[in-house]
Assembly symmetry: C2
């Protein structure tokens, strides 16, 4: 029956384009099967693979308690229940769009204004990326993506659209900065392979690097995509996690600047945003597509029917984001707490000899574990990863799952759970300093199968 159950399905359903075979998701599963619990399962796996931001949730809870009328499920707000539960317009609640536009402006220092009529909602950034890919490219066409990049992109942009992602190689020698040469080289390779490139996808701030793109790089990027007449999608879902100087620069600012304004075709510029990281609401599934292209706004809005934000959530977010005082305080306090935690974590790792890429954003550290590799290969990286997940019992994510071109780099969640006892920097350091890699690397019984992703990369 099982065979019969599969044979009649689509090619998409039978394939593995969902990307869950990547060690990024395999690590999640290892955690799920053996989750750490201080009492019930003290030897379980600690989840450091998920970029959550719970650091300032107490501020939101305080606001909610003080603003009962903001919810349709309180005595003070229930009179709006009927209208809100029945509202199903894909334009979204006007106050919701206004609130999000205002937040986007504020996280970009109010140096640029966002038009509420260009705010298109979607099912998280996951849905936003897929909708954007569906709007911009046909099956077989491609986007360039600087590496290392978020493993979920392989699912979000490719799986159901048939679109390809082509890596743009960034290297540790210049701190993984994106260069024009790397872009041109990736485009040239695509031409040789007869692949039509429709766009460039950048992530700013970067996941997994935790770094921001400087103005010069952004201007180079805008020039590059205009010169080759391809789209630019800027994923800015970590905009408000920038915790030290220099501050975040959005692509929205760059295209407003005098020297860029004239030579940039705005029809090519699209921003993906979300409240999952900046506000810490991943469960609410608030994804945003902000496009400067009217046709994309119209088409994406129609596609948003497949992943609209619950009006219960839209209504709450609308009220919360219209409270200027709260939003300002939340963003400032969140950045302060992120900075503090980052400092503690970095210093802790440094004490046991682990270096990280210098960064000032995001919810993670890009750890340089190259000194722990016997040989600089992806096989050794995977072997080390198995030690970390099965002996040290921490789910960190290997660089290969981010398509990093150099073995030995690992993404480690920093701030989000660092406040929880078991995952404190001290515990992590102890684990790393006491681990005996050799014992494990020599074992012929590796518990986790080699990932096809790694096989393909090495």
């Amino acid at each position: 029956m099982e065979q019969a159950g599969e044979s009649l399905l689509s090619k998409i359903a039978r394939g593995d384009g969902h990307g869950e075979n990547s060690p990024y998701f395999e690590g999640w599963k290892a955690y799920e099967h053996d989750p750490f619990h201080p009492v019930k399962n003290p030897n379980g796996v600690i989840q450091m693979g998920l970029a959550e931001n719970q650091l300032s949730c107490d501020l939101v809870q305080q606001w909610i308690t003080s603003n009962p009328e903001a919810s349709i499920c309180t005595a003070e707000g229930v009179h709006e229940f009927k209208d809100i539960a029945n509202f199903q317009d894909y334009h979204g609640l006007p106050l919701f769009r206004q609130g999000v536009a205002k937040l986007m402006g504020r996280t970009r220092g109010n140096r640029v204004r966002f038009d509420p009529d260009r705010i298109v909602m979607s099912g998280g950034a996951t849905g936003a990326h897929e909708v954007t890919a569906f709007c911009l490219a046909d099956p077989g066409e491609a986007f360039l993506v600087p590496t290392p990049y978020y493993p979920g992109f392989d699912r979000d942009l490719r799986w159901r659209t048939g679109v390809q992602l082509l890596p743009v190689i960034c290297e540790s020698t210049n701190n993984f900065k994106l260069t024009k040469k790397a872009l041109e080289s990736a485009l040239e390779k695509a031409k040789q392979d007869n692949i039509t490139v429709k766009g460039l996808l950048i992530t700013n701030p970067s996941n997994p690097l935790g770094t921001i793109m400087d103005r010069e790089t952004l201007k180079m990027v805008v020039k590059f995509i205009n010169h080759h007449h391809i789209h630019l999608v800027s994923d800015e879902i970590y905009a408000a996690t920038v915790f030290t100087h220099p501050g975040f620069t959005s692509i929205a600012e760059i295209i407003e600047e005098e020297d860029t304004k004239m030579e940039c075709d705005r029809n090519l510029i699209h921003i993906v945003y979300s409240l999952s990281k900046d506000m810490g609401f991943p469960g609410f599934r608030v994804g945003i597509i902000y496009s400067y292209n009217d046709n994309v706004v119209n088409c994406a809005r129609k596609m948003s029917s497949f992943g609209l934000v619950s009006t219960q959530t839209q209504h709450l977010i609308a009220a919360m984001l219209s409270d200027d005082e709260f939003v300002e305080h939340f963003l400032a306090e969140s950045a302060r707490r992120l900075a503090k935690r980052y400092g503690i974590f970095c210093r802790g790792l440094a004490k046991v000899g682990i270096k990280c890429l210098q960064s000032n954003a995001g919810l993670f550290l890009w750890m340089d574990l190259r000194p722990l590799l016997k040989k600089q290969t992806f096989e050794e990286e995977m072997a080390l990863w198995r030690v970390i997940i099965h002996k040290v019992k921490i789910n960190v994510s290997p660089g290969s799952s981010f398509h990093c071109c150099e073995p030995g780099w690992f993404r480690n969640k920093d701030v989000a759970v660092a406040s929880k006892k078991p995952c404190s920097p001290r515990n992590l350091m102890l684990s790393f300093s006491s681990m005996r890699i050799d014992d494990f690397l020599m074992s012929p019984h590796s518990p986790i199968p080699q990932s096809p992703l790694v096989k393909a990369t090495t």
Copy 2:
């Protein structure tokens, strides 16, 4: 710039597969541009094209007021805010899945049990249909769909998947009942056209007919799809709107029955459900895929990442649906109110000589306006529709937009807004009885362009 903005987009974005050119959606737009308001715009268009169910919303509001701990946005429930806002597992909250499974059983008279582990969520029934199509068929492959059917299917199942929908002709002579002959004939035609049919999509209760499928028809359907080894998707989103005997029979019951059980491959059976119609929460975007095929459950769950239900909403729904007493009372009272309103509306239409198809479910009436057509053509149907929307100022939906094979039928929302003064049966009747069709039909200046859908059908 506008042209440049379009030329670089995908074929999907440049095409009109979104289906919004159908008179079904055109009517919505006519309403949006000139919405009725008793004081501000008494000559505006009255929306009768949207199947909303607000009839028992007061019961929900009462429950919410009595159960403040059910929400994460009350003083009583805010302590759960952090955990709920951060929960992003695509399996969904266990209590949410249990609650939905229980509701599905209850709306089917508890004659059959649903397994919470087969509950996959999606962005409304809209998302559920698309995910199902993505799982079951490749681009170019097709589903058979009995006519008349919900116009949104043309968007939901086809637009981004490349799947085709092939009509199965149902006729007024036997009250639009689905026959084996019609199914065989549609399948035969597909073969001649070299189209691979992957499944049959039924809507039970039917939108737009408001009728339910009897056991014999359902058994015939199960036999048919097993004989031809194709999938069966049963859209049962109006299950709880059945307001008189005979009650609703789900496909879930049929495949449990002795004579069907043995000969049915359950891997072929899938149900689409939603809380938009039965509970009246379209804004909350709770769509459900319930498949008996493990591979489809697994694949659809991965795809649900593109349209998860907000955890704020999952949490509320979980609490509400776990309250057996409330759910039982709500369903009984809702059916009672639907029955009452249906009776009033039908009798009112009968008084001015308008007949409707006899039905016992749904939120609409299938009106027989053939006597008002000069000739039995789809051109005349559209002409009449223009009179209704621009002179009578009511947005009803023409049968052609439901792919009905006979001109002259119109879907009219009954219960949902009938409680509002301007849309009372009496007002509607007065409008119909006073309208002067001829004046308008002779006008060469039709304000609305001919729909391509109608052109294709006629």
